[in-house]
């Protein structure tokens, strides 16, 4: 069970209020989609669960642990109950795909024999058997992402935390991946997945948490009622920070870039047109 109690998170370095007063409870065995626009605080939400960041206020309960009292020494053991797919993959550059995945098993002291059986199986599951001996920098973006997924799955963890695990793969494969996660969830594993692909959320009818500007604006077991989209997203985040005149002097450029509002409106029109096609 994961519980957020009045959690707020402010990043010290530049005072960004990433999350404000979040109260959420995720029961064991749930499958939760977390959606929200760019910079809304989704990754922060996950980082708080995995204790990579500590809340500025409030506390996070994970099973018997509380973020307020968790000792540094205990963090590695705490994380071993989780399988995490990082948004930036976090593969070890000096290790092959096989070793990257095996590393997660080695960390918990698994036997070499077990590793030799399990890792190929998992790699095959994400379609990377052929790339086992490749290094991360020899992989395509989607392949790297799948290695990160494989590493998260390999220990058969109690909770799977996936930060946009399908951002770099094609829609078919996205569906396969979420299908895989659903299967794992059906066997009792909690799955928390951040995604931008609303198609996925619609296909797999699960609980959806919508985060907007650091606040949970919607939390519903039925995605048809979830408010994915905010009406004027850009103006939320853009505050015309610079005092200087942002117009540029070259005339042709003015032509090209017009002004901001026009672009937004135009593209939204097109989106509406395209979406209903």
């Amino acid at each position: 069970m994961i519980e957020f109690r009045n959690v707020s998170k402010v990043y010290d370095s530049n005072g960004t209020h990433a999350l404000s007063n979040v109260n959420i409870k995720i029961e064991d065995g749930e499958f939760v989609f977390v959606v929200g626009s760019s910079g809304a605080g989704k990754s922060t939400f996950l980082k708080l669960i995995m204790h990579e960041e500590k809340p500025t206020e409030g506390e996070i309960i994970f099973n018997e642990y509380s973020s307020a009292t968790l000792k540094k020494r205990k963090v590695p053991y705490y994380r071993r109950d989780m399988g995490i797919v990082f948004q930036d993959f976090r593969l070890i550059p000096k290790m092959t795909v096989y070793d990257n995945v095996a590393f997660a098993m080695r960390v918990i002291g698994a036997k070499e024999k077990e590793i030799r059986k399990r890792v190929p199986y998992i790699l095959q599951l994400v379609g990377l058997s052929q790339k086992a001996r490749a290094y991360p920098n020899e992989l395509s973006g989607g392949e790297q992402q799948r290695v990160s997924l494989a590493r998260a799955l390999v220990n058969n963890p109690k909770v799977i935390i996936a930060d946009e695990p399908t951002g770099n793969v094609d829609p078919e494969m996205s569906h396969e991946i979420v299908g895989l996660l659903t299967k794992i969830n059906n066997a009792g594993t909690t799955v928390i997945m951040v995604t931008h692909e609303h198609d996925l959320v619609r296909s797999f009818q699960r609980r959806v948490i919508v985060i907007k500007n650091g606040e949970v604006v919607s939390d519903t077991p039925d995605p048809t009622h979830a408010q994915f989209e905010s009406s004027t997203p850009k103006e939320d985040t853009d505050m015309f920070f610079f005092e200087e005149n942002v117009a540029i002097d070259k005339v042709e450029l003015d032509d090209v870039f017009d002004n901001l509002e026009d672009v937004v409106t135009a593209s939204q029109d097109e989106e509406n047109a395209g979406g209903e096609e």
């Binding site: 994380r79 071993r80 989780m82 070890i92 550059p93 080695r106 960390v107 002291g109 070499e112």
Partner: protein, 306 residues
């Protein structure tokens, strides 16, 4: 930690030496340079010290015996002198020998003059006493003075003291220089290791975020440190040895003309190897552990700033 973990981590340590070979090489080279410097300095001072101690040996006290002492009395006296502490050597110099030697050193004209003037020998019999340790020079001389049948004692206290001062001074300089070299080496090595660990902080941070304990992350670094330390210790010893033998050969004519013999390196090889390897391992292991703790203590997302 399970046995299979240990096996894996050890293998990983070896593998890392190769994977990060650029940094391994840099560390080994830097360590080696420092060890070679320290070793060479040490050998230089060992030689200077032995040279000075040989000069010291030649510092002697002349004990002049009264003219009346002859035969048994002389023998008894020699035994008495030998019985005194801190005496290294006693040599009897008959007055005939002494006079002949003295005439030898004089100008021809002067010598002729003396020989013409008198056939008497103006010198007493003497004992040439070599003192073991110049630190107790005064004590020994006063012991000598308390003997019977002594005419005078000619001691060159000044020279003796100067030699002691020089030797002490050089010892201090030697210790200071080796210590400074050592400190500088430690500093340079720690910097090098800091840089190598720094360039691996991404790796460390990823390992932590996958649930590795600090011990698990550290272990391969320890193995690496040991490997690098042993390699650089052993190679440095070889280099110092080679340089030393080369230097001896180069300066052989100088050494010969000064009537000196260089100390054989083999006497020092084993302890030096031990010290070198110990320094190497301590630096390699200690350095990386200390530096690493900085990155180990962070939880997570500080990675990026690569």
């Amino acid at each position: 930690m399970t046995a299979s973990s240990l096996r894996y981590l050890t293998k990983e340590g070896f593998r890392n030496v190769w994977t990060n070979r650029m940094m391994s090489l840099a560390s080994i080279c830097v360590l080696m340079c420092c060890l070679v410097l320290i070793g060479s300095a040490a050998m230089m001072f060992v030689n200077i010290d032995s040279l000075l101690s040989r000069i010291e040996e030649e510092n002697v006290v002349m004990v002049y015996v009264t003219d009346e002492t002859t035969g048994d009395a002389l023998t008894q006296m020699e035994n008495e002198i030998r019985a005194i502490d801190n005496i290294k050597e006693v040599e009897f110099v008959s007055k005939e020998d002494a006079w002949a030697e003295q005439l030898e050193t004089m100008e021809e004209a002067q010598a002729k003059f003396f020989k013409e003037v008198s056939s008497d020998i103006p010198l007493p019999n003497a004992y040439k006493v070599t003192i073991e340790n110049l630190d107790y020079f005064d004590d020994t001389v006063s012991s000598l003075k308390s003997l019977d049948n002594i005419d005078t004692i000619r001691e060159n206290k000044d020279l003796a003291e100067k030699l002691v001062t020089i030797r002490q001074g050089i010892s201090i300089i030697a210790i200071v220089i080796v210590a400074v070299l050592f400190a500088i080496s430690l500093f340079i090595i720690s910097n090098t290791i800091r840089l190598t660990v720094y360039s691996r902080r991404l790796e460390i941070s990823i390992m932590k975020s996958v649930g590795a304990t600090n011990g698990f992350v550290r272990f391969p670094f320890i193995i690496e440190g040991i490997i690098l330390g042993v390699i650089s210790g052993a190679v440095s010893l070889g280099i110092v040895w080679g340089v030393y033998e080369f230097a001896i050969k180069q300066f052989s004519s100088l050494l010969l003309s000064l009537n000196l013999k260089a100390i054989p390196f083999a006497d020092y090889a084993l302890p030096m190897l031990g010290i070198f390897v110990a320094i190497g391992v301590v630096c390699g292991v200690g350095g990386s552990l200390v530096t690493m703790s900085k990155y180990l203590n962070k939880e997570g997302s500080e990675i990026s700033n690569v």
